[in-house]
């Protein structure tokens, strides 16, 4: 107590009266620094977008809008089209969501509605840890553990039994494939969807659960009404996971097989927007090749921008509606 009083009385007051300019000049300088930092952040995003647009000019001029629908990728003849990569990115991401969404929402519900005390905090910690594992580590694990396992226990049996009837699992099954990429992506987006869905569920007022229980609902029925209220926020969490899956690079590059042609079968190799950039950027020798890769980056940028903005707005709208409670 005594120490607090003395520090309050001596230091600031003394300074204020001894150096009246310090406050004004210091305030202005510090405000200026903060303002510059804030503006730099805004400009960084604009600069990233602008730079990608500028650098893809040669490719846009050479191929026009047809770039998006052409499926030829021939660096030697300098003929480029993005369709195989767009296809690979969309299919692997959507397949990943198909696997990840039910599991993530289940886990989020368990964390918020059922787990209590230390169980809840330990599980939350583990899910954060899952999100923190670097992409390249998932890639190493994917190449040496997941891919061989999937080939032996999933892809081969599927291709043998259903391959004739269903084109989606037609043989020959290969180790690195669309399926492997989807599974590794599912593992990587699960923690994102789970933690955002958890936050959304936590934002729903307690009163809603209590009201349902008071009317004689079972706990499960009460949970279902809560999920109903939170549905748009949960949808936002899923879209956020989609954004992450679309842009995920290293792990996918290491397990998808990197083949720039479109196979109907999910058990065969594919290629994504992000992984073609990762693989070929340093090999690109001609300006047009580099520009085509950067235009692929631009496609990826615009897609993820739209996806992320939509997701943020959905999650925020839920948070805002209930933040007053």
């Amino acid at each position: 107590m005594a120490a607090e009083v003395s520090s309050v009385r001596t230091v600031p007051q003394g300074r204020r009266f001894a150096y009246p300019w310090r406050g004004a000049v210091g305030n202005t300088v510090f405000f200026g620094l903060c303002l510059i930092a804030g503006i730099v952040v805004l400009l960084t995003l604009l600069a990233v977008i602008a730079q990608l647009v500028v650098e893809s000019r040669p490719s846009i001029e050479a191929f026009g809008i047809g770039f998006l629908t052409r499926s030829v990728w021939d660096p030697v003849a300098e003929e480029f089209g993005a369709l195989p990569f767009i296809y690979g990115t969309l299919v692997s991401s959507l397949l990943a969501l198909l696997l990840a969404v039910p599991l993530s929402i289940g886990a989020a519900v368990f964390l918020v509605e059922i787990a209590r005390g230390w169980v809840r905090s330990v599980l939350s910690f583990l899910i954060e840890a899952l999100a923190a594992v670097p992409s390249v580590v998932y890639g190493v694990w994917g190449i040496f553990v997941l891919v061989p396992w999937l080939l032996e226990h999933v892809s081969m049996p599927l291709a043998e039994t259903w391959g004739e009837a269903i084109p989606l699992v037609a043989p020959p099954a290969t180790g690195p494939s669309m399926l492997s990429a989807a599974v590794i992506l599912a593992i990587m987006v699960t923690p994102i969807i789970t933690s955002v869905a958890r936050d959304v569920l936590l934002a729903i007022p307690r009163a809603q659960r209590e009201a349902a229980l008071a009317l004689g609902s079972t706990r499960w029925e009460a949970i279902r009404t809560v999920i109903g209220t939170a549905r748009w926020g949960i949808f936002g969490a899923i879209i956020l996971g989609l954004g992450r899956a679309l842009g995920e690079t290293m792990a996918v590059t290491m397990v998808i097989g990197n083949d720039p042609s479109i196979h109907t079968s999910l058990l065969q190799p594919a290629y994504t927007l992000a992984s073609v950039i990762a693989n070929e950027f340093t090999e690109a020798t001609t300006p047009l090749y580099v520009s085509a890769l950067i235009e692929i980056g631009l496609v990826l940028l615009l897609t993820t921008l739209v996806v992320n903005i939509v997701a943020r707005l959905l999650v925020w709208s839920i948070a805002r509606r209930y933040s007053q409670q």
Binding site: P12, L123, L130, I294
Partner: protein, 291 residues
């Protein structure tokens, strides 16, 4: 009719109870399945990585293709340098921008910067690599540690801003008012009182950003590139741990795979230790989160 509705058959009641129990079981199972890959990844990385963690791994340069042995010493140091350079830019800039949002900006401008920060968090990091390539590598004419650091700085920036800003918002208003009422200039109030109150949270943000940057591979592939030797200046390509792991994992040599696993173990260990430290730091500041 009405009586029947009011008193449903006991089977309805049983069914509701069974669904209730099943629902609980399904979500518990989902949680287990979600966490299973974490255990599998840690288990295999430990099993395959520990044999590779030799003294040479930490002290030797990579051997040329075909020769067994060597290590990742230059990549480990290189990662430290590139992440350090990126931190020098991203941490002060991020903290200042966080202060700007929470202390100075109008509501609309604050919302705009917050929004941009969220969008930047969602950008695929490989695009930041392209940006750094176009802005740093292309004008200079060659790959460099600077270019890698520039890309990583943009990866780190939104993380630092977001955590700084969120923690500053939790500092109670009366602390600011008390400082100002004593006649202390606002910038001194911010630097000496508010930042100090929020220091744990800000450290959390910095550690999060460093952990994230240390594991990033994609933005370094064509900015920092790679280097088999010790770098001598920051103006040339530099080896980093994640890029080295990637290079070794996709190459067809048994010995390189062993080293890739060892590298993965070092990375995952670093990240998990940081996460645990963060957890402890955050749980100690828990009083600030409660209303």
């Amino acid at each position: 009719m009405i009586e029947r509705r009011l008193q449903p058959s006991p089977w309805v009641e049983y069914r509701r109870r069974i669904v209730n129990a099943l629902g609980h079981g399904v979500v518990a199972l989902a949680t287990v399945v979600v966490l299973f890959p974490l255990i599998a990844v840690i288990w295999y990385t430990l099993r395959e990585g520990i044999p590779g963690l030799t003294w040479d791994f930490f002290t030797q340069l990579p051997k040329p293709v075909g020769e067994v042995g060597g290590g990742m010493a230059n990549a480990i140091v290189g990662s430290g340098i590139v992440v350090g350079l990126a931190s020098l830019v991203a941490i002060p800039l991020g903290i200042l921008a966080g202060i700007f949002i929470s202390e100075y900006a109008s509501a609309r401008l604050a919302a705009a910067i917050r929004f941009v920060t969220e969008v930047m968090l969602g950008l695929p990091s490989i695009l930041l690599g392209i940006f750094a390539y176009a802005v740093v590598v292309k004008p200079i004419g060659h790959f460099s540690a600077y270019a890698g650091a520039a890309a990583l700085a943009i990866v780190m920036l939104p993380i630092v801003i977001k955590t700084t800003e969120e923690i500053l918002r939790l500092v109670p208003r009366h602390i600011r008012e008390a400082g100002l009422a004593l006649g202390i200039p606002q910038w001194v109030v911010v630097l000496r009182i508010i930042l100090r109150a929020a220091s744990r949270g800000i450290v959390t943000g910095i550690l999060l950003a460093v952990a994230r940057a240390a594991g990033e591979t994609a933005p370094l592939l064509f900015t920092a590139l790679n280097n088999r030797f010790w770098h001598t200046t920051l103006d040339q390509p530099i080896a980093t741990l994640p890029v080295q792991i990637f290079t070794y994992a996709v190459a067809p040599y048994e010995d390189w795979h062993r080293q890739a696993w060892a590298g993965a173990l070092v990375l995952i260990g670093l990240v998990l230790v940081l996460s645990i430290v963060l957890r402890l730091v955050v749980s100690r500041t828990h009083f600030e989160h409660e209303q």
